[in-house]
Symmetry: C2
Subunit: 402 residues, 2 copies
């Protein structure tokens, strides 16, 4: 049985190339830039004043000097006069600096009498309160590099430098199929032995959270023909995630149907808990490749397998390079007895107190216990082997994104 | 001039009531529950086995005991036979526990000869590998309380307990108008004195990030009639944000137009930097109330005012109770000289090294310098007053959500 790291390496080795496409400025939020974006403008477009005051020649300013006011410039105007020695031009915030000026005295530091202004400063350094042309943005210069994750701040910058259509990495299409005769739709009341299909909505919204275009195709019954049709539909996506049907039971039809549809198995079973029955394969057809994941049917195993193995695929395709499951460490709040030969990812709650991070393994009642997950914001990691992890010990945790 | 805290209190005192509405399960992601959600089922619906193995009576198990196999139960089946002393029933993971059984021995701990099974255990405690009915969910019990923020995990739980339509707090409608004759649309090349409207996309995507239904209504020209029409449209939203037109310049028409349209000014100018010209008012018409914010026109002031004053309003309305701008502390990486009589929110970069959080004030080139913001993930806070904050000092920071 392969390890988690080996499984992840097998998956990542089969990742298709990232594709890019254009989207609108507003839709680009949370997406990742597929190209460097150069500016088409200088910003500011001219030397400008950062304050309301008087444009001056710095060398003229000595204590109590009085200058002649030549003109007034407001934002949006172009100065028509140039400064000469011992003159000043009244200027508003944002207005273009007149020729000859190299500093601006704030209005609060002056007193005016008619066309004369007295400067109440000992001296002023050249460039004071001046912002030179292209200080912020320079035409042709890359302002946002490929790989930038777009926040509202970046949307503002892209608007400033003239991009209404944004080149971003495409969102992969993710199809979800929940398999099993025991499943009924959320709007149906389960009868004897039935449970509602919660994995479909869980996995499709997880996919959305990571940036995929996710859709749940519904329930695949334990009927070879019906299952074949549904899986064939799912194979049109970039990533097909099936939940259930991959453990070793008699009725687990999924691997056989996948094989018939041309999906090549890469591995089946991974050494972890929960999630051991994980199945992974690839279908390569002409120009379309589908990565296929068979996840165990219970919600907690499904969640763990999705976070560990499917989320990194989506993240890579949408251009998020960083680790998905943010690994960090935290201090155990209670003893934890690890048992068995499989590394364990246990639902846990991460809290913070006075700068220290604490982790509490939840009172998880088995892999179908979805409810306890609502308290989970992390997975606590315990390596294989029987060992007591005492309260106070620092362990590795994986944060579940919210 | 009122303080930031006073301004925020004035705004919060005028918040309308939260409204709720139904949305689909998949659309409920990131929303907040407006009602308690009770379960309509017991989970598990019956006592069940957590492993593949043999259902037994715990008291029968002694080292090497051999039991007679009465029957076999798989998931989805109902057991037809009951255990009697010294018998066992073969059982699959998830299958209902037969009457009489109170523990399950894992198949790995047994050896089978025909209809006999030998148990390779010293003893077994009652309840081992058994999950009793309703251990996870109990019918009628509130599983997710009102106020829960919905993650994929909660989507899965809501599917399990039968909710296909989810009662969530409504998203407020947010309208954005950028004012000023110097503005041109993003797809236009700015001529002399013109700049592109970057605040519209910046503020609308900020609104989206916080959960509002945001739309940018475009550019409001410095023309009373045109501005009146556009603002009247904006007043149909729950929150109207105008950028520009609220400082003290001759052409700042916005306050006059708002007044004419029945918007009552609550305050104008707040003691902070950047963002001092902030304007806030309310229009109350029959059943519709609009909160109106006039933000300074430059992008950095706009951003700071939005984060400090508009984001908390959206968050409250969508049901996120917690602070928006997460306040924390960090260690300065370089000296910072604070000047002037206004508390300052300075664009900054927060980093983490070995568990310590560091903050670096960015080389911000004035309030129109939007580009430097792309490095910002926080605002560094410096109280009013001339003071040198030396490298190594711990200061307050506000995290900018990404």
């Amino acid at each position: 049985m392969i390890s988690v790291d080996q499984a992840l390496a097998e998956i990542m080795a089969r990742l298709p190339k990232r594709r890019s496409s254009l989207c609108s400025l507003e839709e680009s939020i949370t997406r990742v830039l597929a190209e460097d974006l150069p500016s088409d403008i200088d910003s500011p477009p001219y030397d400008k004043s950062l304050v309301d005051g008087y444009a001056v020649i710095a060398a003229d300013i000595t204590s109590g000097v009085t200058l002649e006011i030549l003109d007034e410039v407001i934002a949006g105007q172009t100065p028509t006069k140039s400064l000469t020695r011992n003159t000043a031009i009244q200027i508003m915030t944002g207005a273009p600096l007149p020729d000859g000026a190299n500093a601006v005295v704030m209005v609060e530091q002056t007193s005016r009498q008619g066309q004369q202004v007295t400067i109440n400063l000992e001296q002023i350094l050249p460039e004071t309160n001046v912002m030179r042309r292209a200080t912020s943005l320079s035409r042709g210069e890359t302002i946002l590099p490929a790989g930038t994750r777009i926040r509202p701040i970046e949307v503002g910058i892209m608007a400033e430098i003239g991009y209404s259509q944004i080149p971003v990495y495409q969102q992969p299409k993710l199809a979800i199929i929940s398999t099993g005769d025991e499943l009924v739709d959320v709007s149906t009341t389960p009868q004897n032995g039935q449970i509602r299909n919660s994995n479909g909505p869980l996995l499709s919204t997880l996919g959305t959270t990571y940036g995929a275009l996710a859709s749940s195709l519904g329930i695949g019954r334990d009927d070879p023909d019906e299952l074949t049709k549904l899986i064939a539909r799912g194979l049109q996506a970039d990533i097909l995630v099936l939940s259930g049907g991959v453990s070793a039971g008699v009725k687990d039809l999924v691997p056989a149907v996948l094989n018939e549809l041309g999906v090549q198995q890469v591995f089946h079973k991974v050494n972890l808990k929960p999630g051991k029955p994980l199945w992974f394969g690839v279908r390569q057809q002409e120009n379309h490749q589908t990565l296929v994941f068979g996840l165990p049917g219970n919600p907690v195993s499904s969640l763990v397998c999705f976070l560990l193995f499917v989320a990194p695929v989506i993240s890579q395709l949408v251009g998020v390079e960083s680790e998905n499951l943010r690994t960090s460490s935290a201090v155990l709040t209670a003893d934890y007895q690890q048992r068995g030969d499989r590394p364990t990812y246990f639902p846990a709650r991460l809290t913070q107190d006075n700068g220290t991070r604490y982790v509490t393994a939840l009172a998880w009642k088995g892999s179908a216990d979805q409810r306890t997950l609502s308290e989970a914001n992390a997975l606590a990691f315990f390596p294989a082997g029987n060992q007591l992890y005492p309260k106070g010990q620092t362990i590795t945790v994986f944060e579940i994104p919210s």
